[in-house]
Symmetry: C2
Subunit: 249 residues, 2 copies
């Protein structure tokens, strides 16, 4: 199923390449349903950042270790981009990975979108151009619907198997809060950090698997458009804020 | 007030530069409170992406217009980076701006962190290195506490003054939802798009003003640490999900 974003149907990279071929170069634009996109801008990503298939385990281990350097968002973005610097090089060497760091803690601690998903979004949109939006959408759906963390790191910082929890939401506050309730651990603990580092590995690995399928031409987006489904931008856990299912603080 | 992020106290760019000066080059790291940062990585942003003060009105107008190309996150990031490509050039010309697009609609329509704030985060962290986190934090606080949109564009797409609303939250779903209630307009309308485009200009202008002060050495972070305040990552509108103040759907 193809994502249609909040303002109009979106174009895949393939659509853009086809569209760009039909129009003159220079100030050429591709228009779809009232939205004007710069084909020049979109084509740049597609041409510069080549992808080679990566080993999800390798990506996961880098993400786990890098969580302890710069937290969740950087962990996932660097989990993908560090090996691409080695395998492909070129523009990946100049991409300023450190700009992903601020999304830690749901963006400088505000508890909104889990930083791992920003990292996944940055990496997949860098690699796959506009197709990265569908990949990001699928990674978010995986995150919200899966009991995490699953990853078992080599040289774990903490010799302990973390509790599993399903967030039913991409929000850091909700995801971490449910895990804290399940585990009985507070936020500023080694156990919570270990949980988030392992979860970063899970998100990085899921993103890698989707990108590998995309590279092979076998990727089919699964998750539909949130905005079209709800007639506004929204998550799917409506009754956790609206209705009788509101958690106590 | 200095931000301390969710895992430990953070370092400012100034701290990093001082720290880097005290240690050997190469695999040098700066350690603070148990967190290890790569000074090599952090220093790169500080050295490559020079900032010159920008006119907030100019940035706002670009953000407003670019909303209609690639939505909210791209609008804010490009509002700052397009003029820097002209005034500074160099690495700004190679930064793949289009990777910010996916954050539209609170990240591909999931209604989480407003895309404008992601765009502000990317731009301010690219420009100001680690100081960008404090700037992002202050921009988020401005967004949540201010009745928006205020910007009056040249050549407005819609000749109408949009209703004002205060989100009390950085979430797209909450911010847009409150505006929809105030205005009586649905999500997929020209009025809602105009509101979001003007709001993108407001966020871009606020970010520019903070960056200009930072450039002058007069920037003082105002907003404290969300994670330290709440002992976990969180917004400040607790009773909108927890308690008696829950809105009807």
């Amino acid at each position: 199923m193809k994502i249609e974003n909040e303002a109009t149907g979106c174009l895949s990279r393939r659509d853009l390449i086809i569209g760009a071929g039909k129009i003159a170069a220079g100030a050429a634009v591709v228009t779809a349903g009232g939205l004007t996109l710069s084909s020049e801008v979109m084509a740049r990503t597609a041409h510069e950042y080549k992808y080679v298939k990566l080993d999800p385990e390798r990506v996961g281990q880098i993400a786990y270790e890098n969580w302890y350097k710069n937290f969740c968002s950087y962990a996932v973005a660097s989990g993908l981009i560090e090996p691409l610097r080695k395998e492909v090089g070129g523009p990946y060497n100049h991409f300023p990975l450190e700009i992903t760091r601020f999304a830690h803690g749901g963006v400088v601690g505000w508890g909104t979108m889990c930083g791992t998903l920003f990292g996944a979004g940055v990496a997949s949109n860098l690699i796959a151009g506009m197709d990265g939006e569908e990949i990001t959408n699928d990674v978010i759906a995986y995150y919200a619907s899966t009991e995490l963390p699953l990853y078992k790191p080599k040289n774990a910082k903490l010799d302990r198997t973390p509790e599993l929890s399903r967030s039913n939401s991409p929000l850091c506050h909700v995801s971490v809060g449910k895990w804290m309730k399940r585990s009985g651990k507070q936020f500023f603990t080694a156990e919570r950090k270990d949980r988030c580092a392992r979860l970063a590995a899970d998100v990085a690995m899921n993103t890698t698997m989707l990108l590998n399928a995309w590279h092979d031409g076998s990727y089919e987006p699964k998750h539909g458009s949130q905005a079209k489904t709800h007639n506004m931008t929204a998550q799917n856990n409506c009754t956790e804020c609206h209705g009788s299912n509101v958690p106590t603080p």
